[in-house]
Each structure stands twice: as C-alpha cells, then as structure tokens.
Amino acid sequence: MVSALLGGHPAGALPSPVIEPGFFAAEDVRVAIVVGAIAAIVAGAVGVFTVIRGQSFAGEALGDVNTAGGSAAFLASVAPLLGFVVVGVIAVGAMELIGIQRPRGRDLATGIVLGAALGLAALLLYLVTTVHSTTGATQTILFGSVLTIASSTIAPVAALSVAALALMAMLYRPLLLSSVSTELASARGIRVRLIGAAYLLALAMTVALAAITIGTILSTALLVGPAATALRLTRRPGVAIALAGLLGVAAMWLGILLAYDSFDWPPVGTGWPVSFFVVSLIFIGYLLSGLPGLLQRRARAA
C-alpha cells in the first residue's frame, strides 16, 4: 500500500503544494475517494437516526463485533464482507432479544453482546494467527485502512450501500415517528418494535460496509460525528441527513488528502494514518458546532 502510494510521488520534493502532484493519479487514492464517500453518505443517513435514538453504543459495538466476523471469514476463507454481515445480523438479533428496545435495557443489551463477541474475536484471532501463522492479519482485521481496499470490493460494497439506503427510505417516516415518540407511533398503528429491529438491520449493514472499507474506528466516527454535528445545526431530519452526508464526505476527502501529504512530514516516508486525520476533523467539527449554543448561553447569562 505504502509503496503503491509512494509510486510516482517525488519523496522529499519541496516546497510541497497542498494537493501533491500525482494525488489523483494513484489508483489507491481514487478507490479510497470513491469508497470513502459512499461510506460517509450511507453512514450520515443512518447515523442521524442513531443519534436521535441514542444508539451510538450499538453502532460502535457492531463495529467491534465485526472483528469476530472478519476473523471468522478469514478462517473459513470466505469474503470478509460476508463474515461482517452475517455476524452483524446475529449480534443485532441477540441485542434485540436481550432488550435493546427498552431505554433502560439498551445499554446492557449492547454491552453483553459486545463482551461475548469480543471474547469470540479473541479466540478467532488466536486461531487465525496460529493456524495461518500470519501475524499481520490481526492488525489488518482490527484497523483496516481505506488505502488498502481492493478495487474488487467496490461492487459488493456499493450494492450493500444501495440496499441499506433503500431500507432507510422505506423505514423513514415510521422510524422517525417512533424515534421521536413511541406512544404516538403505537397509537398510529406503527409496529414500533419491528421498525426498531429493521432499523438495527440497516445499522448492521452500514457498519459492515463502513468497517470493511474504512475500518472500525472510522465507521463509528462517520456514523456518529457528522450526524451529531448536523443535528446541532438543524432540527429538520431531512436536512440533517443531507448535511451529515456532506460533512462526512468532506472530512473523509480532506483526511485522505492530508494523509497523502503526510508522507513528507516527519518521519519522512512513513505517512500518518488516514483515520487519525478524519477523526480529528470530525471531532473539531462537532466542537465547533457547539459554539453557537455556547455563545447564546453566555449572552443570556450576561
């Protein structure tokens, strides 16, 4: 990955412009830009509901659960994406059984499933490293990178994205109503629990496609950060979804650009990880979006 990135890139050429020569010429970068944008858009749409429903923990847990899915797929020699989706759906089912739909049980249901899945991941990773004696596998499974995506994964990832977005479009109105007021939704004849479970399915698909392309760290960051920022700036859910997608794509692209530039930063030739830049950008965006509210409170207090 590194050598491919460095190919056609004059190391140590100074002074360096913001967009290095050869940035768009590198195949890795082009794939990362496309896949990163897809993941950010889907995560934005699903993430707005994750934030409204207070299910960030489930989103983050599903990302970690994917570690088990990834290593299981590695052991069974099937496509990792299949492992991610299958294990994610099983985890969602278990969370639903334990009681994620009740506000009081939500935290615990997620926690128990996460704990069990992590234990399983520990075993599977152990088997991966002993059976295949590939020590690098752990790192790849745990911290997948957007710059190591094979272009053959683009098609299944795109298909999964379309499926997740279609599910969200179908769920949109009943989900919105049952997220804002369970009582009102039940009174209107919406099957709140079914809608909630279908939403979790969309969440599992989103996290799977995000985790496999951009890694679990970024999957949580893109799911929660842009959506929370957007919801601080607007109260209208439709606008928030668009805004969250926009913010996510912006953070993703800027992060990839900075990571590409960072090959010239000390230590020269190593490069800083994309996830660090994207996460920092998202966090700064979230903090900045809190400023108007803070200033208002200050003004009112004065």
């Binding site: 960030s56 983050e60 615990l108 926690g111 992590l118 152990y126 490293t129 760290i217 979230y286």
Partner: protein
C-alpha cells in the same frame, strides 16, 4: 498451574476481578456500559504513546484513561452522552493508530494489550496493581452513599446537595483508575466483559445493593479463576473465556430471575 509465574497471574487476576466486580456494579446501575467500554479501549492509545516516547506503559494508560473519562464527563454535560462517548473513543483510537504508525517496534504488542496477557505477568506488576486497587476500592467506599443516591435518584440527590455532575466526574475517574490497573492484565477489550457480565448477573439475582456488590465480586472471581485455569490447560486466549463466561453468567442470571418470578 500454581507454581512460579502463575502465582503472579492468580494474584493479579483476583485483584482485577474484585475491582471490576465493585466498579462494574455502578457501571450497570448507572447504565454506563458504553463509558466502561470506551475508556479502557481508548486508553490503549496511551500505551502506544508511552512506548513511542519511551515511558512506563502504566503512565500512558493512566493519563489517557483519565483524560478520556473527564473529557466525556465535561462534554457530556451539554451534548448527548452517548455521542460524546463515541467521539471521545474514536479520537483516542485515532491518536492510537497514529502512535502505532510512528513507532515501529510496538506493533506485536497490540494484541496482548487488546486481549490481555494474564499468563505473562511479571512479579513487578503485582505491587502497582495492588496499590491502584486499594485506591479504587477506597474511592468507592468513600463515594458509596452519594454515588448510590445520585445513580438511583438523581433529583433527590441534587436536593440534598449531591451534585450529579460532580458525582459523574468522580465515577468516571474511578472507571479510569480501574481501567489503568486492569488493562495490562486482562486487556482493554475484556475488562469490559468483566465489568458488565458479573454485575449484570448479580443484579438479576438480588435487589439489595450490598448483596449485589458482594455477588458481583464473587461472580467476577469465579469467571476469572476458571478462565485462567482453562486458558492454562487449553492454550486458548484468556479473553475468550472471560468474554463467554461473562455473557453466560448474565444469561444464567436472567434465566434464574425469570424462573423465580
């Protein structure tokens, strides 16, 4: 199984189980499972950073878990709590991946930090773990009444002069302390199972807080002891046993509660 270096493993793991059982009781009571996941998990960045600058891992873990926990407390006052926790976690992990990238020799240690290395505990790790455990238990004993009040009835607590915000910060600091001492032993990912599974099982068995805390500690000890024994016998990672026994204990507790209702 009980000779030489294994003595350290048994001692340290027992200390960890006691602390996880006690702290975990409040984690489950307050619905703070996400924080209990995020703080130890994020603090791994501290370990990576410590190895990058060449200081003791324990210091890195301590600094990062405390900063992360207090950051969640302060930002969570205004924003949504789970959102802030998720963001704090990813920021710490992002820093961690940066530190890992910059330091070359650290990479092989990642797995042991994530999933624990209880069978490889050196004798010089016993004393600091015990010291931190004493501080942790003392803090819980001191905070017991106000923390209990503000966890169960926050409004009544406020009326009696117990600030929920201050209690939250104290509680988060205790979680950070517990993470610091437990992470090198059972790993960032699995201290969490211990802090959730055991107390959740205990809570489904009894409603009385002190009994539940004692039960929680007992269950945590059983989980850890059997996990060490099985890990020693089978060579499988200890995290697998801790994780599955934690979930198993909870399932048994739920089953027992359902049967007796």
């Amino acid at each position: 199984m009980f000779s030489g270096f294994m003595v350290n493993a048994w001692t340290v793991a027992s200390i960890v189980a006691v602390v996880a059982g006690l702290v975990g009781f409040f984690v489950v009571l307050r619905g703070s499972a996400f924080v209990a996941h995020a703080v130890p998990n994020g603090s791994f960045a501290g370990a990576a950073g410590a190895s990058l600058v060449g200081i003791n891992t324990l210091i890195g873990l301590g600094v990062f878990s405390l900063l992360g926990a207090l950051g969640i407390g302060v930002l969570g006052r205004r924003g949504r709590h789970d959102v802030v926790t998720a963001l704090a976690l990813v920021v710490m992990l992002g820093l961690g991946s940066l530190f890992l990238q910059l330091s070359v020799e650290y990479a092989p240690e990642v797995e042991s930090l994530l999933f624990g290395e209880v069978l490889g505990i050196a004798s010089n790790q016993v004393a600091p773990t015990a010291a931190l455990a004493v501080v942790c238990v003392a803090a819980i004993a001191l905070l017991y009444r106000p923390l209990m009040l503000s966890s169960v009835l926050a409004e009544v607590g406020e009326a009696r002069g117990v600030s929920s915000f201050r209690m939250e910060l104290c509680f988060l600091a205790v979680v950070a302390l517990a993470s610091t001492m437990t992470v090198p032993v059972v790993g960032t990912l699995l201290i969490f199972s211990l802090m959730i599974g055991a107390p959740a099982a205990a809570r489904s068995l009894t409603d009385r807080p002190l009994v539940a805390m004692a039960l929680s500690v007992a269950i945590a000890l059983i989980i850890v002891w059997s996990a060490i024994a099985l890990s020693y016998e089978t060579d499988y990672p200890i995290g697998f046993f801790v994780g599955s026994f934690g979930a198993g204990a909870y399932a048994l507790g739920r089953g027992w509660a359902a049967y007796h209702r």
